[in-house]
Symmetry: C2
Subunit: 415 residues, 2 copies
């Protein structure tokens, strides 16, 4: 019953095809639209941004997910967010879905939409429609098609993000076990903050699972994965996580919170974890991944808040960039997380791949080996941990350092 | 009954003396300690950081303020924060206060303390004591002495911050009106975030006012001044605002919430407002002051949260630095403030000294004159406003842009 990493992303699961194209929406000389398609109808689970200002495609998708519709396709564009576009933006969503529905021969409300890019401008419908026609004609289940799609939805991302796993479940026909696959792609680099799943993430699986349990798994897992990463504290208007399940693996359908569900949940957790950490690691301008683990906390939610507070601190982020072990800043960021704790009992550590340094204990910053600390801060992944000595709960958050390039990218994003 | 700006800072009010010295705590070739002294005992009001990790001098001062002690002096050092220093740090506070008490001939618990700088290291008592001896011997009521003190407490600040006002109140002896003065100094540039008064601010007044009303005025005013500024979202371990009143103006003591109290409150508000905006404007690496005004909100606290969310957004801050009118980011930051509102009815404006541009209305980003917007964003003070169309409440927050220099300063703060 083990979960195994396999190559690929959104086309890893049986029956899922993908394609992409150069629609010319904003970028020149690169792909900027992607399509995911399953001929077999899918159940879908999703979570969306908590921002009061929700992009039009978020409203469109949410309606479909809440009404438990079966879906066949996702159409995503990069370059323009279709956010703050008023009723015009909603009309455009319907027309885009109609265009995809016609091209693929599927109902309009089985088409999910996603957009990422600049807030404000309207999307050009003609370019979207041309793109959809092209993509409908070039769908493929090859691994390369999934990878190409994951590239097409990038904005300031520097690497594409995909991940897939395989595991086995009892077959529906009683003939032993079947292989089930789960794969996903995501994009996200700036405007990333844990208050809902972050930016765009699409996951496909051939697992047979009820809508209720799929949604439960998605809602649970997001708490410890996408909601635990932060790049800049800005919660986007477009954040979307969608998981589509078409049942083609032929497993005995998961309809109860049993062992099979637990395994599916773990597999989905591993895909979400990997995609989330990839996003934090590829934060705008980032040169380091920052990991903050809080353990022995009194409550799970408190552990989460403490860990996120550290990863979100501008001063901690700048310190990691500068490779300066000014570790009092970690303590300060824990202190303003809004959680009550006793600073006299907690302990703080800096972990490298091979060495660990304790830098705070018994209420004061310790004398520590500055050279060793500097060597750890020079590693690509910098990990801090805090022993709260207050209970048994733990949580981990991920972020990245604050660099000149973050300022450069965001001082000049539109041009 | 009008409030008039006058020159000077902490020595503007009658009976307040100041001095400073080069104690050699951290900085070489510059002053790094300051003292404020009043021979007449003062009532004192104060607010302190909400950070769970409170620096030793914060704990020391809080005890004195809560017990409504009369105070005579404040001793402040820059360079080391005396935070995360455990019991050793508290013992050092007592010894520092004893040293000042002996030098000035006043009770130990009439000495307030303040520290700012690096978190973790212990302060050198011998240097503090030598500094105190020097400063006790050079106290002066001259304007220059106050200005020099305001320079001594700077860390990454680029300008010293002081402000004073004068107003009149009925005389205690019934002989018409007397002049009352109120002046202050503050420091703060990084690790600044509105969740308590921000960094160190000391205000002196010769007004006669009861402890209860002084504390009430301080607690009220901080909500709309120091708690409305943000530089980087990091709430310090050391934030302290103290207001000392020695009564030497000879006004009829303020003991009720009457017209005199209202006037004192307005005068204190104007000093706090000015010092707070000076801090935001001098944020680490800042090239622009950002002002966000939210009006016609349903509740005061909601207006405050919305305004602070915009000033705290890394993307808004980077946009102002880049002078790129990517105004959807303002809307996005309002959206994740945690306040419920209807994005279809609000209106957003960008204000220059002479021109105003509406960039969002009726649910979508407007076509606006990019050239005019770029010209406004090139001004030193950039002001945004939002008409919530939901009520009568308003609030203003202040922040600064996010620049390469912020990253530089904080990647390399200790060295």
């Amino acid at each position: 019953m083990s979960i195994r990493k396999i190559p690929g992303g959104i086309t890893a699961a049986k029956g899922f095809l993908a394609s992409c194209c150069e629609a010319g929406i904003k970028y020149r000389g690169r792909t900027d639209m992607a399509m995911i398609y399953s001929a077999t109808p899918c159940t879908v689970g999703g979570v969306f941004t908590s921002n009061q200002v929700k992009a039009a495609p978020v409203l469109w998708d949410r309606e479909i997910v809440q009404n438990k519709k079966s879906v066949h396709a996702v159409v995503v564009n990069a370059g323009i967010a279709n956010a703050a576009t008023g009723n015009t933006g909603m009309v455009l969503c319907r027309k885009t879905a109609e265009s995809a529905g016609n091209a693929l021969g599927i109902p309009v409300d089985s088409v999910l939409l996603g957009s990422t890019g600049v807030i404000g401008p309207q999307l050009p419908l003609d370019k979207l429609s041309n793109g959809i026609a092209q993509m409908a004609g070039t769908l493929s289940g090859m691994q390369e098609a999934g990878t190409a799609a994951s590239r097409a939805i990038m904005t300031t991302d520097t690497v594409n993000k995909e991940f897939a796993v395989s595991f086995t479940l009892p077959a529906a026909d009683g003939s032993g076990n079947v292989e089930v696959r789960l794969g996903g792609m995501s994009k996200g680099s700036g405007m990333i903050h844990p208050n809902m799943c972050t930016m765009l993430c699409y996951i496909t699986t051939d697992c047979a699972i009820s809508h209720e349990l799929l949604q439960k798994a998605v809602s649970d897992i997001v708490q410890d994965t996408f909601n635990m990463i932060t790049v800049d504290g800005d919660t986007s208007t477009n954040d979307t996580l969608l998981v589509m399940a078409n049942g083609e693996a032929g497993n005995c359908p998961i309809t109860e919170n049993d062992k099979s569900y637990q395994l599916f949940r773990d597999a989905l957790g591993s895909v979400c974890h990997d995609l989330a950490v990839l996003m934090a690691s590829d934060g705008e301008g980032a040169t380091h991944l920052i990991e903050m683990r809080v353990y022995n906390a009194d409550r799970k939610e408190n552990a989460r808040k403490l860990a996120r507070s550290v990863c979100g601190s501008s001063l901690v982020k700048a310190m990691v960039f500068g490779r300066d072990a000014n570790c009092g800043r970690i303590l300060c960021a824990l202190g303003y997380a809004g959680i009550s704790f006793d600073p006299a009992v907690i302990e703080l550590y800096l972990h490298g791949a091979e060495e660990t340094v304790c830098f705070y204990r018994d209420g004061h910053v310790m004398e520590f080996d500055e050279e060793k600390a500097a060597a750890i801060l020079a590693e690509k992944n910098v990990c801090f941990s805090c022993d709260m000595k207050a209970g048994k709960e733990e949580a981990t958050a991920w972020g990245c350092d604050l660099t000149y390039d973050y300022v450069k990218i965001n001082g000049d994003y539109r041009s």
